[in-house]
Symmetry: C2
């Protein structure tokens, strides 16, 4: 390319994914003379760590989502495109959206992950996972409908199955969802006449020998105790071998439950497969120490889509918001320097800075592990609230979230108890004429 033609068009950075990683990378390029194109299948950036609160009717979808266009309203070098990237052609330097090619000079892949049923995709019908807003409202629908179905069910056994909630997976999402569901069931008995919602069972199934494996042992134990306090039944060292419409099989045992939720496994976005480079078992792209794709220094993969190691510790970068944000900032800085500063050559290696780990279980119930400093109960919960509110991208959401939480905290009732979409439910014995 001659200097002449270089002047005619600006270098283009294509970022795939408007999650934590993609947004962080894009923001670093705000003042660079470059064309940034941010492509996402959704028109909003989602604050995923709070998704389970939408699924359990504490928050509204719009509380945890901000329109991407609004986030970048003032970043004039950024163009937002709503669409799904189907594949990447590394040799041609093009991504394909709706069958149409779009060239790039730099590419940042930050398309995230979805849930994995470990090869049993047929389970998804009976055990929805939690990755998108639509997932969350679907889980909310099923969760709230369960109480409605129980209210009109006359057979005691069937009623029990209506009110049995199985959460598969004892990571942060599973623990948070199980805790919140137990809390909801405890807070609404006065709304029902036939059933006692406090008799609802919430069962958390974890394959390993402790929950919250990414936390220190002590925090796992604290979380265990706090979940127990809320009445959650925790089954450790158990693996779900089958999910059916009427319950789950755990080895030889059958648990009758009309409501199963999946929080067990993730797999990376399938876009990575089109690269033709090495992937790990979860479909993540195995990246270089500078987060680039081997042999393609101008293509980066960050966040949940990447299998990366932190240079300092040699440990894998965890699939959490901070991992994506730090990766996005690191990559954004590299691109900015390479485009702005002809003398800058040293990329260095990416190191993940672990700010700490937080998981909330319920009102006043949480665990925190902040650089070895462990907290539980109210202090951990308070830090959790503060950190999450601070992180929300969109100021408006923040105020609204504080309000919702304060309300739930003081009055114990939830504001978003709406069943949207199909409101039909399966009951074997519908309302009888008494």
């Amino acid at each position: 390319m001659t200097k002449q033609s270089k002047k005619e068009r600006k270098p283009r950075v294509v970022i795939v994914g408007g999650g934590f990683g993609g947004v962080a990378a894009a923001k670093k390029l705000k003042k660079t003379d470059v064309e940034v194109i941010l492509i996402d299948r959704r028109n909003y950036h989602l604050f995923q760590p709070l998704l389970y609160q939408v699924a359990t009717a504490a928050l509204n979808p719009s509380d945890i989502a901000a329109p991407i266009r609004k986030i970048f309203r003032n970043q004039k070098n950024l163009r937002s495109v709503l669409g799904a990237v189907e594949r990447v052609d590394l040799s041609q330097k093009k991504v394909y959206v709706k069958g149409q090619p779009m060239r790039y000079d730099y590419l940042v892949l930050a398309a995230g992950a979805t849930h994995s049923y470990f090869g049993n995709d047929q389970w998804s019908e009976h055990a929805p996972g939690l990755k998108t807003l639509d997932d969350a409202t679907e889980i909310r629908r099923r969760f709230l409908l369960a109480f409605e179905a129980a209210e009109v069910e006359t057979d005691p056994q069937a009623r029990e199955a209506c009110l049995t909630f199985v959460v598969v997976g004892g990571g942060p999402t599973g623990c948070e969802m199980a805790g919140a569901m137990a809390e909801v069931a405890r807070s609404i008995p006065d709304d029902f006449r036939q059933v006692d919602t406090k008799t609802a069972r919430v069962i958390l199934i974890q394959s390993g020998d402790r929950i919250l494996k990414s936390f220190p042992d002590e925090s796992s134990d604290d979380a265990y105790d706090q979940l127990k306090e809320l009445g959650v039944e925790i089954m450790l060292r158990n693996r779900v071998t089958e999910v059916r419409a009427d319950g789950v099989m755990c080895g030889e045992d059958f648990i009758a439950a009309n409501n199963v939720f999946w929080a067990a496994g993730v797999k990376a976005s399938p876009i990575g497969e089109s690269l033709g480079v090495e992937l790990d078992r979860s479909g993540r792209v195995i990246v270089e120490p500078d987060l680039s794709v081997p042999a393609y220094p101008k293509v980066f993969v960050i966040g949940d889509q990447a299998s990366a190691k932190s240079a300092k510790t040699g440990e894998p970068v965890p699939g959490v918001a901070q991992g994506a944000i730090q990766g996005g900032e690191y990559v954004g800085n590299i691109i900015r320097h390479e485009l702005e500063d002809d003398t800058w050559v040293e990329r260095g290696e990416f190191s993940y800075f672990d700010k700490g780990n937080l998981a909330t279980i319920g009102r006043n119930k949480a665990v925190a592990d902040i650089r070895g400093f462990k907290l539980k109960g109210f202090p951990a919960w308070f830090i959790w609230v503060a950190v999450h509110v601070l992180f929300l991208v969109n100021f408006r959401s923040k105020v609204s979230v504080i309000f919702s939480w304060a309300w739930t905290y003081i009055f114990g009732s939830r504001g978003a108890r709406l069943i949207t979409g199909k409101s039909d439910y399966e009951v074997k014995c519908p309302p009888k004429d008494e």
Copy 2:
């Protein structure tokens, strides 16, 4: 029935529909020794007059909806059933839910209305109407996707069609929706790079010779002027003769528009058909002066499902929230008196008290007709806001709505700009490689 068996079971009042009418009737029975069963297809009471604000991304679904169970948490004689009533058997005194009979002593039908395409139900696919929360999020999805599609459209004509919004029907819903859409288009140009959203056309088509026919002439003119100020094109004396995927036919004229919204006609819930009594053209049950079904004094029909005349004026009771609420209270009182007071015999006749008519068009733009006293602009708008906030059933929603409105008012930006559900859009020319 002997006195003995009467003692064994309480009289049962079945109320079909948890809208304004059904809720008002149920509340009147709070202290009566009776079994009240409230049946609704949804688990929430919807504040329908604000539905267009969800459709235009100003409010969240949960801002205008309150769980029915929560409303009646403290009314212990009321049981809430989630389900669709399929038919009524007047002679057997039974309603059927999911094929199962449920007996009643008193029946209140308050199942409302849905939109009517005047026999052209195939139009619904291309011109969704606005009656439920799911309708509102679907309209919001289409409305917001239109700008996304325009942003990546390269053909100027196709782009214009993306940004042409046709609203069919010049009643309150049509006017409010058209005004809000014009306002949104004006407020978001900075979010887009390729299109100027201010060039969006909003076209309001009205068959009559003025909009807001239920208002006095003067208010219609005021509303007309205020909509014009917002840039809405109003076509009076025009009737849509065909709705297609690519636009609408108005007699001989074709308007190319990818987005058509229906606010033209209503028809009553089909439950009325199963009664075997006289219905009017819109499927409403023609009721006695005491709102009962002819020959069935213990079966009442109220709200949008009834064709009733106000005793005092002889005028039809309008299909507005107040009509339903007053009908519900009137009927609830009759039932209460007949069950509590053996000496009370006089039902009297229902009279509608017209508290006034309000319609809002945009920020600081509205019309009001309060018992002959006409207002427009800011004063009308202010009354509209005050009245609507006061009426919201659920205290929490109120605060949240005030907050959302204040935010929109001050900053002009909307908080609920989320595309949920399918985010795919039709573009003839997808993003090209430039």
